[in-house]
């Protein structure tokens, strides 16, 4: 089983007080910590587990800036055999469509039985690359996958619907699945492991290697253009309770009693 996993390097923003750049085109990223997109980490783990169970190869591929090599080294440390980076400056600013097109050009010449991506990326959250890529490759896809069971040329998968309901599907391989968080428990990757992966080769593909022109990728090749980013307007403002923990707790107790809690 030859598996290709598409991964993305994203900033960790959950606990950061984000600021917006002057030109209103992006958040200020210079002090942020970057790591593999959470969904992609689960996809990588799933690929490595399948390989460990039934044999085969795992190739990690990313489109991003040069820094994304770090993410690929992390994938190699997790168990990927090979890695490809699409870091041509002309590719920067690609939307989901242009990204999927570049990935398609890189992947179509490779051998694969299975392609995995995350459901979405935690930064822009379009949740499009997987579906677009599958359509371009002309292979079936299943999104929001929470279980994969390979049975020869078929895969039995579970896909998440809403409210705890799931569906079970049977799909012919080759196929593309977008992986949902919680499908497995991703292994711990040590700094040492990532360092060791430095020795492994990362294949670099430029726009011309992808047989694309610069007009087909980056902002020019995009379907969607970002005009500006801004802080969400405050629709309803929470009443902020201030004070030391003791004062806060007193006030909370009052609120809890008033709103129907029995203490």
């Amino acid at each position: 089983m030859d598996i290709i996993v598409c991964v993305k390097r994203v900033p960790e923003t959950a606990e950061v007080d984000l600021a917006i750049e002057r030109d209103e085109k992006d958040i200020v990223k210079k002090d942020l910590v970057f790591d593999i997109n959470e969904w992609d980490n689960y996809a990588m783990e799933e690929a490595v587990r399948i390989k460990e169970n039934i044999g085969g190869t795992v190739t990690a591929v990313t489109l991003g800036e040069e820094d994304s090599r770090e993410t690929l080294r992390r994938c190699l440390a997790m168990g990927a055999d090979r890695a490809m980076i699409l870091a041509d400056p002309a590719l920067q600013g690609s939307d989901a469509y242009a990204t999927a097109l570049a990935l398609h050009q890189a992947i179509k010449k490779e051998r694969y039985d299975l392609i995995l991506t995350g459901v979405q990326a935690s930064d822009d959250g379009y949740a499009q690359v997987g579906g677009i890529l599958a359509e371009m490759l002309g292979i079936p896809h299943v999104t929001m996958v929470t279980k994969v069971d390979i049975q020869g040329k078929l895969a039995k998968v579970r896909r998440e619907l809403e409210g705890g309901l799931e569906e079970e599907l049977e799909v012919e391989l080759p196929a593309l699945f977008t992986i949902q968080t919680g499908i497995n428990e991703p292994r711990y990757v040590s700094i040492m492991g990532i360092r060791k992966a430095r020795g492994k080769e990362i294949r670099e593909l430029m726009v011309k290697d992808l047989e694309l022109t610069e007009d087909e990728v980056g902002q020019k090749g995009s379907q969607i253009h970002l005009e500006k980013v801004f802080l969400p307007p405050v629709e309803k403002e929470a009443e902020i309770i201030q004070g030391d923990p003791s004062q806060i707790s007193e006030r909370l107790l009052e609120i809890i009693k008033e709103k129907g809690g029995v203490i």
């Binding site: 917006i20 579906g131 896909r159 998440e160 705890g164 569906e167 012919e172 309770i241």
Partner: protein, 325 residues
């Protein structure tokens, strides 16, 4: 020109709320440019749903085929692209749901239309479609526009528009012969898998103390459990806590978990992603403790505490326990 298609989403014989939200929004979008609103209903033996949609659109297009009985993006895509190529709407709205997310990207590529996903607002600009969407887990909004095109696709976030009916329309139902010639077989539906029966039913709880990734370690949940016990409530959580197997799935609140309606919901270290917040719309009072003043949870909470939960919770717990004894 200007026609809007809304894909009716239904599951097990019932239309989902997002359908009506999109129909309301779609109607406004047709009024802006002078087109007609179409409700697109694909399914098997769903004429009762078509009747229900009549009052919400200028026209209901119904395609009945056994292959459309359970949502499956493959036959859906074949039928939708057939309808769209013939009727040439300017805009197709699909829910940003499990169904819509499985379908829209592929359909957009087949049609050659730009697709904007997870929109919370949509408008026509002279150059085409413009949308507002959220990025970075809801902490930042982005205004985006699609390149010029004859047609656009957009997926709409659940709850972004009202589902309450304004004017009642008198749409007629047009039944269209299914274009599905043979069985589409790459992706075969086998069965639904129901959520496991819950040991603790958080949907019935009056007081919920919910933990998110900010709880840090599994051991820290014990302290929250004690607080919940003292308050006579239950512990629930956001998705990452279930993903890590720290709490069972039955405790998860949100779109892929449970919808709860307690009198009091206390969110500890939860950022407030829309998939989580969708599950607490029915809560009476929401109290959030989060150390990030810009966490989106504060825009749905009634009371907010911008602090480290580990400083506040032990003190609060002590005070509740002292009151009880």
């Amino acid at each position: 020109m200007g026609d809007v298609f809304v894909l009716a989403e239904h599951l097990r014989g019932e239309l989902r709320e997002v359908t009506f939200e999109m129909l309301n929004k779609g109607l406004k979008m047709t009024e802006d440019v002078g087109g007609e609103l179409y409700a697109i209903l694909l399914g098997h033996q769903v004429s009762h749903l078509a009747e229900q949609l009549k009052g919400w659109a200028h026209k209901v297009l119904l395609v009945d085929d056994p292959q459309l009985e359970n949502f499956n993006s493959e036959p859906y895509q074949v039928v939708l692209s057939h309808l769209i190529k013939h009727r040439r709407p300017s805009l197709i709205l699909i829910g940003h749901t499990s169904f819509g997310m499985d379908l829209a990207p592929n359909l957009a590529v087949e049609l050659g239309f730009p697709l904007i996903t997870d929109c919370i607002e949509l408008r026509w600009e002279p150059a085409g479609l413009q949308a507002t969407r959220q990025i970075y887990g809801g902490k930042i909004n982005a205004q985006v526009s699609a390149r010029e095109s004859d047609g656009y696709l957009a997926t709409v976030r659940v709850g972004s528009f009202s589902a309450e009916q304004g004017v009642r329309l008198t749409g007629e139902i047009e039944t269209i012969a299914s274009p599905l010639a043979e069985e589409i077989k790459y992706k075969r539906f086998i069965q639904y898998i129901e959520a496991a029966i819950a040991e603790v039913d958080i949907t019935q709880a009056e007081i919920i103390v919910a933990v998110g990734r900010g709880i840090g370690e599994q051991e820290n949940i014990a302290m929250v459990q004690e607080l919940a016990d003292a308050l006579g409530g239950v512990v629930a959580c956001s998705r990452p806590i279930v993903d890590k197997k720290w709490l069972p799935k039955e405790r998860q609140v949100g779109t892929s978990g449970k919808t709860v309606k307690p009198k009091i919901y206390i969110a500890l270290g939860i950022s407030g992603a829309f998939q989580h917040v969708a599950g607490i719309k029915g809560a009476g009072t929401i109290i959030a403790i989060n150390k990030d003043p810009k966490a989106p949870i504060f825009s749905v909470a009634d009371y907010g505490i911008v602090d480290d939960l580990f400083k506040v919770i032990p003190v609060l717990k002590e005070k509740v326990e002292a009151l009880k004894s």
